[in-house]
């Protein structure tokens, strides 16, 4: 193996330097073994980035292997820029989720914006046109000025970027809980659509083909971002952080158009985003996948700043850049396409046959490492996992003694409707363009999942993101199952058949046994649920080290799920349609309050056993609802989640502000009022149907073996909201309720105090 020379100015490699690069002594030994010599400083940087958690998945890979990834409709599973499924009519759906938690904690606006930018590139580099974005967010309590600053910055960043590129936002979620105080979670999901035969992969095919850098010139921003994302945040993070990356959605839009044109031109064989670890990872991964090698001539890389070293150029994470493999002899044509879009394209190297990731500077080799050693060769670990005793005792807390406060059920109900977690998210999604591209048929706030129609057929695509971190915190395996079950239930409620999953595993430091325990349990729960729902996992992302001063976030395995509505006329919404319609409840009310929003709001408590998920019952429930929808029986369908039955009824009643209704519901359950109204038992859906067709609904449920009963009827808004149990009845007027619901977040955001 040709040895690279060390460059003047390169620091001496010492154990300290190795450790600053996030590599353990044994990993360093492994590097020496691979190279059969000492690495150069540049090579150390390259290994550090590629073997970081972010790029190498070293602490997660083994567990991720347990997830189901196959189904007849899966065209591309994990391993590429994004997953791909076959949706019929010669069309393929491409989708993926990505986190930008660490950058957003430091600079919320740019962190979130560049997160959206990255996930869009993952989609269009597969050859697909992005058709929708979703965002899954977590913050601390909005009573803190700092949290409001992070929240508004992140929302603006997500919005501005997607709005400018022109991709509608169709949904997502946001939770506020002290458990996320120092570490917001910012996950962005993107869906793309393409003709099946346009699929292109991130592979460096064809020895002698050119490597071409496209887009923005390389600067010093984000150097070591991948390593940074693989560490905990502490007070020093403000100063030791890498230069913040600034997003440029305008250039992204041009890149998007140019890339799709390039892919269709036939002049290129591969294309990949320069994401985490920049040129290094894109080149090494493309080389690794094809089994070829890559050579990069560092002097040819266009740079934005003077005197950049190979180390800096290789590790920069400047945004809006792509690496393209151009067929020999076609550089001119490629440049012409890019120039039309006002972009630059520069040859920076070529595909070789020696399997090496080789970098030269003024004809001298500065790095020469086998591509596969950088990618597949990343060491992987299975850590020790042990449940934290504190969490265990929280979970076993006896909740039966809880008495309701003297303020009464009405006030509890209003407090829940006015909580940031249950109240309307309009403040946020009114900053997102949801209707551009004129295909959005269900926008955020209009149903349990977002829906995009396909102009090419009668079908529509539904998508959702879900995860209740409190449940996962209290019981990781059950909580992860709940996340999958809720995602599927949300899709079913709009009339879609769940098809596949992308996931974002947001956790603390995996080297801690209690965190690794959460991680392992969550993956096991997700795996079990995805198998049962036949929704294979086609990709995802792992974000560890979400901790500030050693306090980890709630473990938050976000599920992004996509589904297909076979015929758009079956599209179903959660809102009641007409006075006199019958309201039915599918599933059972149970005495479960653990991890509920009620406990958080009324008792300031996150404790107890989270609601149990019965996967088989859940699947039957979902099949029965899909069958009711396809028979045209339902006027509305809405899944029960945070805030339980009472809050779900409220949302169905007046969630559509232009057409509000009241309800009159009577429940015969032998349950205390609190768990009956506000408990979050899983596996429940409320549906409404035309007067006198309740029997057909009951019959369908019965055929599927699903418990179902008539609980009341839709009444005019002026008649108010009444939900009655055996002992207690709660009555409120719609205006009061709707006021609390819609002003929940604006009221919190309008507080003034120091950020």
């Amino acid at each position: 193996m040709s040895s690279p020379q060390s460059r003047p100015g390169d620091p001496q490699i010492t154990p300290e330097l190795v450790s600053e690069h996030g590599l353990s002594p044994s990993e360093y030994q492994k590097i020496q073994g691979i190279l059969e010599r000492e690495p150069s400083y540049t090579e150390l940087g390259v290994f550090s980035a590629m073997w970081s958690e972010h790029c190498g998945y070293k602490n997660s890979k083994r567990m991720l292997k347990l997830l189901p990834t196959k189904a007849p409709w899966v065209i591309q599973g994990p391993g590429e820029n994004a997953g791909v499924i076959d949706i019929g009519d010669d069309l393929a759906l491409v989708f993926k989720i990505e986190s930008h938690n660490h950058p957003s904690a430091v600079e919320p606006y740019q962190g979130a914006a560049t997160g959206v930018g990255g996930i869009l590139r993952d989609i269009f580099t597969m050859g697909a046109r992005p058709i929708a974005v979703l965002d899954s967010l977590r913050f601390g309590d909005l009573n803190s000025g700092r949290v409001r600053y992070l929240f508004s910055g992140v929302v603006q960043g997500v919005g501005d970027y997607g709005n400018c590129v022109g991709i509608p936002n169709i949904g997502g979620e946001v939770y506020f809980d002290k458990g996320y105080e120092g570490n917001p979670i910012v996950n962005a999901m993107c869906l793309g659509l393409m003709k099946k035969d346009s699929l292109i992969k991130g592979e460096a095919e064809g020895v002698g083909n050119l490597l071409v850098a496209v887009g923005t010139a390389t600067g010093r921003d984000g150097i070591h971002g991948a390593t940074f994302a693989s560490e905990e945040l502490n007070e020093d993070s403000q100063s030791s952080r890498p230069q913040v990356q600034v997003g440029d959605p305008f250039t992204e839009k041009l890149l998007l158009e140019a890339s799709l044109e390039l892919i269709h031109s036939g002049y290129i064989t591969g294309i990949q985003d320069m994401g985490a670890a920049g040129i290094t990872s894109s080149a090494a991964e493309m080389g690794g996948r094809s089994g070829n090698g890559v050579e990069i001539n560092i002097d040819w890389v266009p740079v934005r700043e003077p005197n950049m070293t190979p180390y800096e150029i290789l590790l920069s994470e400047s945004q809006e850049r792509m690496l393209v493999v151009v067929k020999t002899g076609h550089l001119k044509e490629v440049q012409a396409i890019l120039n039309k879009w006002e972009l630059e394209a520069d040859e920076i190297g070529c595909v070789t046959n020696d399997g090496l990731f080789r970098v030269t500077e003024e004809n001298k080799t500065v790095a020469a490492i086998p591509c596969l050693a950088l990618t597949e060769g990343c060491p992987t670990y299975e850590r020790e996992g042990k449940e934290s005793p504190e969490i265990k005792s929280l979970r076993s807390k006896d909740l039966s003694h809880l008495k309701i406060k003297s303020s009464g059920y009405e006030n509890i109900f209003l407090d829940l409707l006015g909580s940031a977690n249950i109240g309307s998210k309009r403040w946020l999604y009114n900053q997102y363009d949801t209707t551009v591209r004129t295909n959005t048929v269900i926008a955020p706030g209009e149903a349990d999942a977002g829906v995009i129609r396909l102009r090419e057929s009668n079908k529509a695509i539904a998508a959702t993101t879900d995860c209740n971190g409190r449940y996962v915190y209290l019981n990781p395996r059950m909580g992860a199952k709940a996340a999958v079950a809720e995602a599927a239930r949300n899709l079913v409620c709009v009339g879609a058949l769940p098809m596949a999953v992308t996931n974002n595993l947001n956790f603390g430091n995996p080297l801690k046994s209690e965190i690794y325990y959460q991680f392992r349990e969550a993956v096991l729960g997700m795996s079990e649920a995805c198998k049962l729902f036949e929704t294979p996992v086609t990709g995802g992302n792992v974000s560890f080290y979400n901790e500030t001063s050693s306090t980890p976030i709630y473990p938050t395995p976000v599920i992004g799920m996509v589904g297909i509505i076979d015929d758009i006329k079956h599209l179903t919404r959660p809102f009641f349609q007409e006075s006199g319609d019958e309201i039915l409840l599918l599933g059972n009310n149970t005495d479960e309050l653990g991890g509920s929003e009620y406990l958080y709001v009324s008792e300031d408590l996150v404790a107890g056993e989270p609601p149990i998920v019965d996967l088989l019952a859940e699947r039957q429930l979902q099949h029965s609802v899909l069958s009711m929808i396809s028979k045209g029986l339902l006027q509305s369908a809405h899944d029960l989640s945070e805030g339980g039955l009472a809050c779900a009824l409220a949302e169905s009643a007046f969630g559509n502000e232009t057409n509000p209704f009241g309800v009159d519901v009577v429940l015969q359950d032998r349950l205390e009022p609190i768990p009956l109204f506000f408990g979050e038992a899983q596996g429940r859906i409320i549906v409404s149907c035309k007067k006198h067709s309740g029997n057909q609904v009951l019959q369908t449920a019965k055929n599927h073996g699903v418990p179902c009963r008539l609980i009341g009827e839709v009444v005019p808004a002026s008649s108010g909201f009444r939900i009655a149990g055996r002992t207690v009845s709660v009555e409120l007027d719609i205006e009061t309720m709707s006021d609390r619901f819609f002003n929940a977040i604006p009221d919190l955001m309008n507080q003034k105090n120091d950020p």
């Binding site: 603006q156 305008f250 250039t251 839009k253 209707t435 004129t438 129609r453």
Partner: protein
Amino acid sequence: MKVAIITFPGSNCDYDLYKCVQLVGGNPEFLWHRDSSLGKVDAVMLPGGFSYGDYLRAGAIAAMSPIMAAVKEFADHGGPVLGICNGFQVLCEANLLPGALLPNTSLLFASKEVTLSVENNSTIFTDLYESDRSLRMPIAHAEGNYYADEETLERLEEDGRVMFRYLGPQGKPTNESNPNGSANHIAGIINTKGNVMGMMPHPERAVETILGSVDGLDLFKSLLNHISASKRV
């Protein structure tokens, strides 16, 4: 009806407009901002989006594009020109319409459905609307706060050149229902000759029942009718 849809770098409603023109039976054609001539077209439309990333001021850099000289000439000869959202901003920056679009007073991007009054239904863009009709259609912009000096505003009002206003739930314009702080609740205006119109809301997003509203259809149909009528003459 041959309609030129101008695409600037960063336009993102160009395709939506294309589909919409097709839907009403027109014949759309994309022109690139670097083109210098329009060719033979019956109308010109400037789509929404973020031309040049909205950098400097929304629409400012696009207004300097080579094609805009041709658009001006076309408008000077009475050719119909419609600017939607970013297109409206470009028309103001290019001095084809008076005034300017400032950042929304909320300083936030505003995306939602609004209700509009039709203030003047005797133009080539609006003559199929009944005068008391109110329209539902989406807005999606960060800079829709229409501004002009007092004198200009008075003239716009007196000449009936305010085309649309944002309405509140009671069917009247109110400060609460004005989504961006625009002067006199203005959502769209037309030039003195009545052939150049700009508006912030998106009529092209309200042309199919499945999209939630069809209130934008008559705008495009009005223009189409006008053009075929003038061709028959």
